[in-house]
């Protein structure tokens, strides 16, 4: 039996009983077994649970299930009932959630098979997956390099063809950045598009769950499953969810793409610049018109992001105190117990909690946090103005290709700058996608990023589809 590699083919073949869900599941588990000893994309592979679930789908296939029998991997900050969920942290190393995230329930209802939980920077704080308490993930294009992060495990699971689809989460670029560095598609949906119920919180005004895929079509099918209002997440929006898959026609006539060229400064590698221009040329070939635009405040996205996100993180991570869940380090008094338990956070998480605590503290709140929120409003206004004239904004996803493991670990600022082109979309709440546009001379993948209007994931997927049908996905 030849196993199909795309989610759409798997769904069709399982529905027609040309192949069983169990066979597909075994193939995914075999691919994980073959590759993951060196790559370390997974923190936990739920072999028994996945096989039992696949067998159940073979016995009682739900009708019209859009992801029937499709193996999916989840970032380990997405809660799975009865399956260990660590968020890459020692603080949660034994945490077994008593409930599943809404996205897990939606995947299950759609016929997907969840095969395991993927590695990430601790509490999704990082851009390389090296801040995982359980060791780094390696980039399948060059195992001496980082896959990006924080959703590095989910990016690698799809790039190394262990699974066709996975979920990650974003606060400042944690899906798009690793998708670019690993050569797959990554989408950060509009803030409020996908329920966050069951996502371990980091920066609540920024966090969003989103998909990784190897084709726009597979991603379109998954997005239709994920998107929509959820009463258990009061920030989830009640906006119409189109049938994205049927809109992918490869024709971009009438589409207007803006390029903020002033942002493409010295920090952008020549290979990235070249691949970006190639991607833009393909958009034009598909019928899109391009024009230069100005986003005068977008260059401030990283400083604003690190003030806002860390302030929110310092509040969200206060809950890890050894009382209600996670691990506890015993001590004679409750205060000492807090200190010792929280000493188990890794260095990056401690740094961010301290930055956040500082910028929210008396005397600094106005100068840092409030000021950052005002600049955030200006960044959002820049995009509002741009979207009066264009439908999409194009930039490289990252300024460089994948960096070497360890290279940026002791220089937090350098690490933060890998998100220089991605953080603005989170601050403005807008949807953005990264699409592979080729490889560098040294054979490292490069991504082109498109940002759209709020709730217009459809145009992102249409443009991604047009690019990929002209520039086929590179393979490691």
């Amino acid at each position: 039996v030849t196993l199909p590699s795309s989610a759409c083919e798997i769904r069709a073949d399982v529905a027609a009983r040309r192949i069983s869900a169990v066979e597909v599941c075994r193939a995914a588990l075999a691919a994980i077994a073959a590759r993951d000893t060196s790559l370390h994309a997974f923190l936990h592979v739920d072999e028994q649970g996945a096989l039992a679930r696949a067998a159940e789908l073979d016995r009682n296939p739900p009708p019209d299930a859009p992801l029937l029998g499709v193996p999916v991997a989840l970032k380990d900050n997405i809660c799975t009932a009865g399956v260990r969920t660590t968020a890459g942290s020692r603080v949660l190393e034994n945490y077994i959630p008593p409930y599943s995230a809404s996205v897990v329930e939606r995947l299950t209802a759609a016929g997907a098979v969840i095969v395991g939980k993927t590695n990430c920077d601790e509490f999704a704080m990082g851009s390389s997956t090296e801040h995982s308490a359980f060791g780094p993930t390696r980039n399948p294009w060059d195992e001496s390099r980082a896959p990006g992060g924080s959703s590095g495990g989910s990016a690698v699971a799809v790039a190394a063809r262990m699974v066709p689809l996975s979920l990650g989460s974003e606060t400042g670029g944690s899906i798009r950045q690793p998708s670019a560095l690993c050569g797959v598609l990554g989408l950060k949906p509009t803030y409020g598009r996908v329920s966050r119920f069951g996502l371990i919180a980091f920066g609540s005004s920024l966090d969003q769950i989103g998909p990784f895929a190897r084709s726009a079509r597979d991603m379109a099918v998954l997005m239709r499953v994920l998107a929509g209002r959820d009463a258990r997440d009061s920030t989830s929006a009640d906006a119409e969810v189109p049938d994205y898959e049927t809109r992918l026609d490869g024709d971009l006539a009438g589409l207007r793409v803006g390029i903020p060229r002033a942002l493409l400064g010295d920090g952008v590698e020549a290979a990235v610049r070249d691949a970006f221009e190639r991607g833009i040329a393909e958009l034009q070939q598909a019928g899109a018109a391009t024009r230069e635009i100005d986003l005068p405040h977008a260059a401030l996205a990283i400083p604003v992001y690190y003030l806002v996100a860390n302030a929110e993180a310092s509040s969200n991570l206060a809950r890890f105190d050894g009382v209600r869940y996670g691990t506890r380090v015993d001590a004679p008094s409750v205060i000492e117990m807090y200190y010792r338990t929280r000493a188990r956070f890794g260095a990056e998480v401690k740094r961010r909690i301290m930055i956040g605590t500082f910028v929210l503290s008396a005397g600094y709140y106005e100068a840092y946090y409030l000021k950052a929120q005002k600049v955030r409003a200006l960044i959002r206004q820049d995009y509002d103005r741009a979207f009066a004239d264009v439908d999409l904004v194009a930039l490289p996803t990252t300024p460089t290709t994948a960096f070497t493991l360890g290279e940026r670990l002791d220089d937090p600022l350098q690490m933060y700058l890998s998100d220089v082109f991605t953080a603005a979309a989170n601050l403005a709440g807008l949807p953005a996608i990264s699409v592979p546009v080729g490889v560098s001379p040294g054979r490292l993948p490069i991504g082109l990023q498109l940002t759209g209007r709020a709730f217009d994931e459809e145009t992102l997927l249409r443009a991604a589809h047009a690019i990929e049908s002209r520039l086929p996905l590179p393979t490691p």
Binding site: S234, Y306, V323, R324, R342, M354, R376
Partner: protein, 99 residues
């Protein structure tokens, strides 16, 4: 001009956040946090007069009807706690008062 964080500042902030730091973390964090704040100081150069702070990007309506609905059982939650006591229905913690 951005704030320069001394080792004493780092210890004070860590205490506010109930974080225990090792002796080598304190000087390292003082240097790193100072560098990060110096970088973030760019926001001070921006003219934001008349701009309202944008604290949230939500477009959803947060309101909902206040109705009873099933939730997780107390036992399921206590089972996850490092020292949950099903019998008593309580989270146990070390001594809070006195020494």
């Amino acid at each position: 001009m951005a704030d320069i964080l001394t080792q004493a500042d780092v210890e004070r902030i860590a205490a506010l956040a109930r974080l225990e730091l090792t002796s080598d973390e304190i000087p390292r964090f003082a240097a790193q946090l100072t560098a990060i704040l110096a970088y973030a100081d760019q926001v001070q150069q921006v003219d934001t007069s008349g701009i309202e702070p944008d604290a949230s990007t939500t477009l959803a309506s947060a309101g909902r009807d206040d109705v009873l609905a099933p939730s997780l059982s107390r036992d399921a939650l206590l089972d996850q706690a490092p020292a949950g006591d099903r019998q008593a229905g309580l989270f146990k913690v070390p001594r809070v008062l006195g020494s």
